[in-house]
Symmetry: D2
Subunit: 339 residues, 4 copies
């Protein structure tokens, strides 16, 4: 059996307990210590896992012998806590988005590289078997040339206290898109509105312009009657819908398309031919993506491998969110991702 | 019984036969004459309706004793044919969009007013009982303050030869939105791409900014594996989904929302309360909207009433499409609808 | 072009006009004459098809020069009208079910054979491409050994005046089942109830026992809130769902199953292994089954070929309905189909 | 706070851990001891709940100071273990079905009454808020006279080692039906087949005949490609679909029906009028039914109240399953539930 990695978790609010449960269940992890400012959350954790140490002082956790720290605190605290953890020699997994701005993210990336520590960001969907399947469909060429992607992630609630819907929901889609396409967008534009609370956008639309004229559109909302988590990828040969809300048929591959004639004249439109072929729903393994993510974190710590979603990936997503934020504030104009 | 109105139809391609069939079935219409450039289309019409006169010369139709003319020809011909029909003293129903640009639309509106003739545009969805129901939900205040609307109209094909997807599909949603909201957008922006044929957009996203911070987003595409025709209206009290593809449950009213506390402090987020109430699917009468539209056209001719979708409405939709086109070409910047 | 067959239609109520429209549209048919007792129905037909002769006297139709007669009248009249048509030397297509009892059906079968005329029954679903696809899946062995079939055909209404729900809806499923399985049931049992009108069953369940232990269950109801038309075929290798209400994904093939170990011991249950493989939705041609049926009828008349759904098939379905009726009245006991 | 009841659980296979987790989370329960024959299951439980005592000897558990015992072992052991528990003075909750036959069930009911102990059976669905809602719809008269109920509970697997699909899946539907109707069936018939393993039915159809001509049909299968858990209740005024697989819209109430005229003549069929009214999806509280069940068990122990699903209910369900089994073996004939 692999040697156990001693793990501490900072933050036991909504996401922290999921990390704790997974590290608890993974044989090669020793889920040792949890920190949260609220005593009632710590009581709850201790009731579930009596063997786990708890503290309200994160310095106690960073000063302990845990080898790795997972951070699931409010975003504004990510940079400070991750920085201190790295300085204390810990490997770090930070919940998405990595930080509140790109300067902070760059600082963490540099620090981790200097110290030779693993820095990973919790882009959980990159560890989702359906998303991996989608990536393989794209990179294998089965879909042909990729035209565009449309992504929707909406629901009623849960409103976040300190960030808007772009920073809350869009990191999922942005990390999925850059992962499955294997490239980064050059420009981003965004439109949105703040209805429930002043100045905190609860509805937004992002447009990402990738190289090769690939366009991606993302709709995020905390104000929608239905839970929709759906990504459509349209290629020249085939089209795919990935519906994360579907219990079993998450991916549908449509052998559909328009075949364009090689030449072109004034009547070309009448030569367009449509294909309406079979639909295939591949069997996707039923695993918990967060479990895969946690195991990957431990694996990278042990081997020194670069994580699939490393600090640089986290930095790139933050840059995209920043560009989207600039566009939101300037009336929807395109913003370059790299200034 | 009401007196019969003698009707002629210009264009017997895709849409024309539907108009012909409806005027044929309406007792108070005398479906008298059809014009098309292609003899095979006329042969087809004569086979179906032996009593209908056919011609390849539109001047023959305009010179006949028909009282009203319905125009279902390519958009670039709308203005010329409608103009000549009005000059010949005919009442005119033009398929959507009314014309290829706003100057043409204004000309028709002015001409019809000068001559005292009925000018109507075929915004068929305004005669759809589900859309009327949606309008009543909004204007009655049942949904509370309207926040935003999201509309999707996508499918694989049918590519139009001479216009892009914005001018083909978006007129439906633009006319629905202005009808149900009872107001016009001030600014429009649009993004899109042309994948299958050069310079003819086959995928586009429009954002319409209405007064009172109401935002509407429209997604149209000729390149999508699924047929989706869905409009979500989010209000402060209730939310509605209108799904035109659903055979029976076209409208769903969600008694869902977020209640904001009257005061606000640093912890306000914890005071947000969510309502997850009943869902109601009202019974919607099952009528053919085009039948209602044709009967309304005849009614306005007889009574001199202004049509629900009159020339001015057609002009407003064309202005919005023009603004969207300008935005498409300038990188997605907001464009004022009225210059 | 093939020579035209002159066709007459008896009955212009609900189904008759569909036959008339199809024969009207098929180039190799001459839709010549229609008979109905109600003058208003004939007026309607004449308005739609001015060239078609109409009469209230079926003897006039049978005495005319039509070569083929399609019968879409109430079931109790099928035998008499079909008999007279055959005696008058006409080829005959009778709506399903062929007759009100098996004696009548046998009489028609014998008469048609004696006279060398085509006798066909309108088991329309046998001409449905999805049903043909299903049959091929079964007969090719792709599903493995067929275990059982479950069929549901329910809706609210339309109550028939003179027959119960078994004779109204079950003929569809019975003809589909015998067609796709390529065999006839040995025993039938049925249970049901009459809620809305005394003694006329509006809800019923049939169980058909085929050779090789293949079991099929059919649920029919005029009293259900949802329109369901769904057939599940479970084989040892694969399973199929045919959902006729689905607009595009009518057939889904599930690569799912339970693999049984070759030996058996007290713990065999722990050795059962489940397969959860891909789902495939084949593209099914979009044709009107009734059009295919009408063309097949004309083809058989011209060539003398035996129709896919000939009089004998109609007789077998009537025998199964009779056995189901006997079981309905005797408390649900199994009845042999052949006495 | 209520006094804590000390609870022991027999069986830690599939269902036992769910009971253990719930008793662990309920403040008024002291989840004290777990027994299973397999040491690995006990190790697993101890890892999750280090404070819980474990044993492979049920006599140790029955001899301990636990006040209540929950039994989640194979059905053939239910009677012996429940009997010994009652003799040891413990209150008992037995997983459904209560016992393997009605003699055993009667013995337990009598014993519990003699000893004044709570005997409850785990008909979990009776504690499901959607089922309670359905019961209220029926008993309030909102649906009118109840005509019939159709229930489907199918899936691929999980095959049980020692019982057939009737004893595995039908107890859910039988207990739901008797609970929502508030009455017991008089006759039962059943049909089925054993495809995967000899003599163990994996597919079955039950018909239950209740007083007042209410008919209920239940379809259960371990061999179906889709997971369906759906109950349709048809009343004279309204109809309801309860779909347990739906994540949010579990109950849909259809204001649909057929109105029969008060008199009857030969043309009565033309006077039938159909109502196609609104559909309502009530908001159903999102609670775990097993949690409600466990709390109810504890409440009854404390107060001496008779449980909603007491031993007698368990006995009645077993009697219905026995009648179904007799019918399965005699070719589907109706069997009286009470001999």
């Amino acid at each position: 059996m692999e040697r156990q990695v001693k793990v501490g978790v900072l933050g036991a609010g909504y996401w922290g307990p999921k990390l704790i449960r997974n590290f608890q269940e993974i044989p090669s992890a020793d889920m040792a210590m949890v920190c949260d400012l609220r005593q009632d959350r710590l009581d709850h954790i201790r009731e579930l896992y009596p063997a786990v140490r708890v503290t309200t002082d994160y310095k106690e956790l960073l000063g302990s012998d845990v080898e790795a720290v997972a951070i699931a605190t409010p975003i504004r605290t990510h940079h400070r806590l991750a920085r201190e953890a790295l300085l204390a020699g810990k490997h770090v997994l930070v919940e998405k988005p990595l930080t509140a701005n790109s300067e902070e993210a760059e600082d963490l990336v540099n620090l981790a590289e200097q110290r030779g520590l693993t820095l990973m960001v919790g882009h959980t969907f990159e560890y989702n078997p359906a998303v991996e399947y989608l990536r393989n469909l794209i990179t294998s060429g089965e879909l042909g040339r990729i035209y565009y992607i449309n992504a929707t992630r909406v629901n009623l609630g849960i409103f976040q206290p300190d960030i808007n819907v772009v920073w809350d929901l869009a990191p999922h889609d942005v990390s999925i898109l850059t992962f499955v396409l294997g490239m980064l967008p050059v420009n981003v534009s965004a439109r949105g509105a703040a209805y429930v609370r002043p100045k905190i956008h609860d509805v937004a639309y992002l447009t990402l312009h990738f190289p090769n004229e690939v366009m991606a559109d993302i709709r995020v909302s905390w104000l929608d009657p239905c839970k929709i988590r759906r990504i459509t990828v349209v290629g020249s040969k085939k089209m795919v819908v990935y519906d994360d809300v579907e219990p079993t048929e998450k991916i549908k591959i449509y052998d559909k398309g328009v075949d364009v004639p090689p030449y072109s004249d004034t009547l070309e439109e009448f030569h367009l031919s449509y294909r309406y072929g079979d639909i295939t729903t591949p069997a996707i393994p039923n695993v918990e993506p967060l479990r895969v993510e946690c195991e990957h974190f431990l694996h990278c710590i042990r081997t020194g491998e670069r994580p699939r979603s490393d600090g640089r990936d986290g930095l790139e997503v933050v840059r995209i969110l920043e560009a989207a934020t600039r566009s939101l504030l300037n009336g929807g104009m395109r913003e370059r991702v790299r200034l």
